[in-house]
Symmetry: C2
Subunit: 300 residues, 2 copies
């Protein structure tokens, strides 16, 4: 089933307690696309400036990612983010954000993109997410991400998004902020009552929780000893999840749970190096093998 992602494409500069990288490939739509591409072709919609290195596009194209929706705007610069991870590697400080061309990102879908069946609205302004939803002609599964900024400054539009999507993916702190409930089990269901059929709460190194009308479950993160750079963990999780759903073409509870498992496993690889480096070094069979180990870990 055709899978579409709309979101940020960025050049990231990342500092960890032991290393740093400058201007490496990043952005929510990039991590999502690459992670999803192990399972399904992906259509990426985003925007960059004229400083965008052509080899980044080639890298994505090599993996069945259709970048015809990646608009390059002359005279503009690509979105840049600089961040620093604290020693626990779970919390981070944003040191610099230059939205640049992303600030006026107004996604216009092509006729083919409008026909996408599965759609992921990566973290972005709820107003822009609504514009994408308006253009879809035959969606069967729409999932969005969001963040504290939009909960605070575009609350009403976010509420509209929640009533129109099938699934929401968000961080634990954001679920607490949105609902005012510190207990994540209650918070997850409160978010679900705002509209989405299912809600996924991401807990970073502690895994992810799933909420639907009839199901509540939590799956831990795969315990990797090699956490090098957590940037993009949440987006690669969502990419693995949605990619697997696109591959299977079914969203029944059993498949959704397997999709959560694949999301967790892809994210566990993603954090093992900077940017897309670790994901570039693996193939689908590596994901299957780690998923097997993960299942084994949880079975007793």
């Amino acid at each position: 089933m055709p899978l579409l992602v709309v979101g940020s494409v960025a050049l990231d500069s990342v500092e960890t307690p032991t290393e740093r990288r400058d201007n490496v490939l990043g952005g929510s739509a990039v991590f999502f696309s690459y992670a999803a591409s192990y399972f399904s072709p992906v259509r990426l919609v985003g925007v960059v400036g004229e400083d965008w290195p052509a080899q980044h596009t080639e890298l994505l194209e090599q993996r069945r990612i259709d970048t015809s929706g990646l608009q390059i705007v002359p005279g503009e610069k690509t979105f840049r983010w600089r961040g620093k991870y604290l020693p626990n590697m779970n919390d981070r400080e944003t040191l610099e954000v230059h939205l640049n061309v992303f600030e006026r990102f107004d996604p216009v879908l092509s006729p083919a993109q409008r026909q996408s069946r599965l759609v992921f609205l990566a973290n972005g302004p709820p107003r822009a997410q609504l514009k994408v939803l308006d253009q879809l002609e035959a969606p069967v599964l729409t999932v969005a991400d969001t963040m504290d900024l939009w909960i605070n400054i575009q609350h009403s539009d976010l509420m509209t998004v929640l009533r129109r999507i099938d699934g929401l993916v968000m961080n634990d702190s954001e679920a607490r902020l949105l609902t005012g409930d510190e207990n994540l089990v209650r918070a997850g269901h409160k978010v679900r009552e705002l509209g989405p059929r299912f809600v996924v709460i991401k807990k970073g190194e502690h895994g992810a929780m799933f909420f639907s009308e009839h199901e509540t479950y939590v799956l831990p993160a795969y315990p990797t000893p090699n956490v090098v750079d957590p940037t993009g963990a949440g987006d690669s999780f969502a990419g693995g999840m949605m990619g697997y759903l696109a591959e299977r073409g079914s969203f029944e509870p059993k498949i959704l749970k397997e999709a959560m498992g694949y999301g967790i496993v892809v994210a566990s690889f993603n954090v093992e190096d900077f940017s897309l480096e670790r994901m570039r070094s693996i193939e689908r069979q590596d994901l299957d093998q780690r998923l097997g180990e993960y299942r084994q870990m949880l079975s007793f």
Copy 2:
């Protein structure tokens, strides 16, 4: 197999964001014993003052907990702890600690207690833990808990304890403190290399991790929406785990993992009310039912 626990017996005063209780039954050996008693008879060794209410002893005796090792010291007061949970219900502040009679706790085991095969050394000074180890005549599984205080002020004795026990149970922050490693997967194995055959790292609402030479796994907490009072969660976890091991009389990897599951499930009940209130309201079949739901949750 006879199970022995040596540790604190206390009167706790607990404040949560919405409720408070004063001078309720608590202490590491109490939570441990009650949790273990669903699976196995337990021998409790501890000390209290003359202010100790007799009905607390009766409550424990009703559940196959042998309290003949609970020394009542005339003219002394029972250990008292007062704490306050932050809104996230995972972090807490200690407001008052009066060690009272527990300050000079010097456990002397009876001939029967010395014959115990499974022994849990609840959190306490490593020097006292060593004294208990010295008195054991036929231990087959010794497990200890510890805390940041002992890592800081009795480091050398703690190192000796680690070389003499089979298993160590500790919190995530303590594992990081002891090893200087922020990554819990690496930290767990580093602790194991200090002596114990296996290490369990407790992560509060995020579950627990297990480390042995050949195994590394993480199991999430059971997602209960009703977290009323987390006091004793770690000790009831250990009690459920050790109680099940005592019942089975085997410590092979498969049984240890089931024991982890039971520990997690008992702890999930324990946090649903103050003191032992929730555990008092359930039977073994409630644990089996929730364990079934928990297994189901982790299977995909």
